[in-house]
């Protein structure tokens, strides 16, 4: 009891300090976690049917159509209402869902044939057939499409139904990443075929008011700003969900969610790092953690003369004790990163150049690069001081602290750092094309299941893409262009491994860490599987021990 009161009081002070700083964006939440699953195993009986599970969330969905959303709140709902041909399991392997088995891929890698399970029913009772799959994927390749995901299907030429339960995808060129693309929820053709593709995104009768899929839960109602209710799909093809209802309850921010968790009003929330200490004190809640499919980094602007020389970048990384940073700022809830690929990925390459904490080596590298100590102790070269700013988005305390700690580490080797913070929207505007107005930036990448580095590292992504560090390397470009043509995963992993090693050696980023992510779950909830990327994974197996 004393502990609870203490936690409450300290939380109030935290809140009073940070309440004004509630901005942020899609990239902003910093979810991190502990070394292992802190959930206690307790003896439980057999799964029970029934109950209404309440999930607390601060994000309200935008559109309940799996082809059009770009936010995780919408994805959480569509993952429950719809089912795709395949799904990514918790080990990031592709598993058949609507499809019966793994695809049959032709010798040349151009034809992918999926066989479907029979007897899968949409929520309105109609059976899902190959025609529905063809309809869904034709939306992506239709010339009028407005789907933000259409880029995934650039190589797709044709989708056809071979018979009622067989679909064949034909590609223009082999695409190893195609396997991870067929996870989009299947839409019911019979309800949507009369809507022109250009208008499908705005078809609110389906997308907002009555989405119909084949997933484990049916849509019931959505009250803006308050809640969204789903009910069990009795006919779900993997078996009826144990839960009768799933309700998403919307609250303004994680502070409000923690209070709702404490009073038992919600069963589930994605717990941000800053709240872990508080949530750990609740007796009725388990904290689950797993490595997130993401890395946090300090990105350097290679177009600035200061960062042109890779020895300077390597020296900076040598000068920062990232293990210490993980222990202090992240309270141990992360692992030090060395390369732009997650250890969760099959393409992870551990054999990359590593720049461990070594102040002497850092000084040596800087001296080699021609930097000499100036009168004020800051390094100089040709009259220019080695001084720059590190930018992050305001409201994100972790990133602010990383800026400050970096400032202290780099002062040791004679580099002056000025940490700065900006409001999220203004921050993105400043670091993105065409402005590129930054020296260093604290950011993170949430990674896709497929490890292709193209979107972030290819030099043609500088002018208008996400390669805002302006990283250029011909070999990385070549691998980024060619790796998806290689169908053999081991061969492709070797190729990608080379690219990751090159990037790690050149240090366009100082790779900081792979964070853990936490889910706070009421002890009543059983059968939960923690997926590194999908929040609503196998929810039909969850049940309430009442």
């Amino acid at each position: 009891m004393k502990k609870t009161i203490f936690a409450s009081i300290s939380m109030i002070f935290m809140l009073s300090l940070f309440l004004v700083a509630c901005g942020g964006g899609t990239d902003a939440p910093d979810q991190t976690g502990g070394d292992q699953d802190t959930a206690e195993q307790q003896p439980v009986g057999d799964p029970q049917y029934g109950g209404n599970m309440i999930l607390g969330t601060s994000g309200e969905p935008v559109i309940l159509n799996p082809l059009y959303h770009t936010d995780s709140a919408s994805a959480d709902i569509t993952d429950l209402v719809f089912a795709g041909l395949m799904q990514t399991n918790e080990n990031l392997e592709m598993e058949p869902l609507v499809a019966k088995t793994q695809p049959e891929i032709s010798e040349d890698g151009l034809e992918w044939t999926y066989e479907l399970n029979e007897g899968i029913l949409f929520h309105d009772g109609a059976e899902l057939t190959a025609e529905d799959v063809v309809f869904t994927y034709n939306v992506f390749i239709h010339e009028d499409t407005t789907s933000p995901r259409a880029g995934d299907f650039r190589s797709l030429v044709n989708v056809e139904a071979l018979d009622e339960y067989t679909v064949k995808f034909t590609l223009a060129e082999p695409d190893a990443a195609f396997a991870t693309r067929v996870t989009y929820g299947i839409l019911p053709k019979h309800l949507l075929e009369d809507i022109p593709v250009a208008d499908l995104e705005d078809y609110r009768e389906f997308n907002m008011q009555n989405p119909i899929g084949t997933g484990p839960f049916k849509f019931v109602s959505w009250t803006s700003g308050q809640n969204l209710v789903l009910e069990a799909n009795e006919e779900y093809f993997e078996g009826r969900p144990y839960l009768d209802n799933v309700t998403f309850r919307f609250a303004s921010d994680s502070n409000a969610l923690v209070l709702l968790l404490e009073t038992g009003d919600i069963h589930h929330m994605i717990a941000p790092t800053s709240e872990i200490g508080t949530i750990e004190l609740y007796d009725h809640v388990n904290l689950h953690s797993t490595l997130a499919l993401r890395y946090d980094y300090l990105g350097w602007n290679l177009d600035r003369p200061l960062f042109e020389d890779k020895r300077v970048r390597q020296a900076i990384t040598h000068a920062i004790d990232r293990q210490e940073l993980v222990e202090t700022i992240m309270e141990g809830n992360a692992e030090v990163a060395h390369a732009p690929v997650s250890p969760l990925s099959w393409a992870y390459n551990d054999d990359v150049p590593k720049f461990e904490y070594d102040v002497e080596k850092a000084k040596q590298l800087l001296a080699d690069a021609g930097w000499e100590p100036g009168s004020d102790g800051i390094l100089e070269k040709d009259g220019e001081r080695l001084s720059f700013t590190i930018l992050s988005n305001s409201g994100n305390v972790t990133r602010r602290d990383i800026g400050i700690i970096t400032q202290q580490y780099l002062r040791e080797v004679g580099i002056e750092v000025k940490p700065e913070q900006m409001e999220w929207g203004a921050f993105l505007d400043q670091i993105n094309p065409p402005n590129f107005d930054f020296d260093g930036v604290v950011m993170a990448w949430g990674l896709a299941t497929d490890p292709n580095p193209r979107a972030i590292w290819h030099s043609d992504q500088i002018e208008n893409g996400l390669n805002r560090s302006a990283y250029r390397n011909d070999e990385v470009d070549r691998i980024a262009d060619e790796n998806t043509l290689v169908m053999d995963q081991a061969e492709r992993a070797a190729m990608l491994g080379d690219a990751f090693a090159i990037i790690a050696e050149e240090q366009p980023y100082t790779f900081l860490y792979y964070p853990y992510q936490f889910v706070a779950l009421s002890k009543e909830v059983q059968g939960f599987t923690h997926h590194p990327r999908i929040d609503m994974y196998k929810v039909h197996e969850w049940w309430l021990n009442q």
């Binding site: 259409a150 880029g151 609250a251 303004s252 409000a256 409001e423 929207g425 400043q430």
Partner: protein, 315 residues
């Protein structure tokens, strides 16, 4: 009087037009673009550009303003960039919640503030007066997010008497009692600052009035003290307070932002904050214009009420 009102209403048009131009310009000049908020490496550059084109964000600012204005004149406030819903629906969904909260808290503020203000004035320098004065300064000085958190910790978390947030119990049928149960804490928090301010205004206004000759005359006529104060005094004392009400009307939108955030109250304030962070231009503009209209109308109502309450004022 009627011509006065009509004249004022016509004058609103250029004022609102000016406000819309300035707000649009400021909003547009603020750094940050609506669509770069998506940082998903899975979304291609082409898709992002196609979206910019569809939303008309590639047009020069003055064309965007003209397009927006010509739709607004037709009563169409556009579609939210991020929520993909008609802005009018979004506001219509949220406005009742904000109004309920504001009206309830304003009534609460008035019920408490005016009697205490009057008492404090008529019994000037008494213990009651000092008590009321102290309490109102305390109320003015307390940040309402702090007060809100304290009340939540005490009544919702420790005692469990009130819900932590929201407008109604999840999944329950509509019930007035349930609504009031959810309303009470945010309304108290919101009323506190208004209450404190109003008490002070009422007190100083009444202090002026009770020194007037007509009050002495009323007393001399032998009226009961309560009649003197409440019938002759208060009616005159309220006139300056009416102005304050007129000016409070626009804060119906902005004033509740923090409380709405704190209590997860799905109102306009929260919508506005989210829209600002996401650079959701249509929503920002619609709410700004709504606030502008309320400000102008609030002023007009205050002026009209002057004339109603004070026969000496004529337009």
């Amino acid at each position: 009087m009627t011509t006065y009102i009509i004249r004022r209403l016509i004058m609103m048009i250029p004022i609102l037009f000016g406000i819309s131009v300035i707000s649009f310009a400021i909003m547009y000049a603020a750094p940050g673009k609506p669509t770069v908020m998506d940082l998903d490496p899975d979304i291609s550059v082409e898709a992002r550009e196609a979206q910019m084109e569809r939303l008309g964000l590639n047009d020069p600012p003055h064309i965007q303003y003209i397009n927006w204005m010509s739709n607004v004149v037709k009563g169409d406030f556009g579609t939210s960039f991020t929520k993909k819903q008609p802005v009018r629906d979004m506001i219509a969904d949220r406005l009742p919640n904000t109004l309920i909260l504001m009206i309830f808290s304003t009534i609460l503020a008035i019920i408490v503030a005016i009697p205490f203000g009057v008492l404090s004035a008529t019994k000037q320098y008494s213990k009651l007066d000092y008590g009321v004065t102290m309490t109102s300064f305390l109320g003015l000085a307390t940040p309402n997010f702090w007060l809100g958190l304290m009340l939540i910790m005490l009544f919702s978390v420790q005692l469990g008497w009130t819900p932590v947030g929201g407008v109604s119990t999840l999944g329950a049928d509509f019930s007035l009692l349930d609504r009031l149960h959810h309303l009470i804490l945010p309304a108290i928090v919101l009323a506190t600052a208004d209450m404190a301010g109003l008490t002070r205004y009422t007190r100083s206004s009444m202090l002026e009035v009770v020194k007037q000759d007509y009050i002495r005359t009323a007393r001399a006529k032998g009226f009961r003290e309560s009649t003197v104060i409440y019938k002759h005094g208060l009616r005159n004392g309220l006139i300056p307070i009416i102005t304050i009400f007129g000016l409070m009307l626009p804060t119906f939108i902005g004033g509740s932002v923090i409380v709405e955030q704190l209590f997860s109250w799905p109102g306009i304030g929260k919508l506005f904050i989210d829209a600002t962070f996401e650079r959701d231009y249509p929503v920002i503009m619609a709410i700004t214009m709504f606030g502008a209209v309320l400000t102008v109308i609030g002023n007009l109502i205050a002026d009209i009420l002057y004339a109603v309450l004070d026969p000496r004022i004529e337009y």
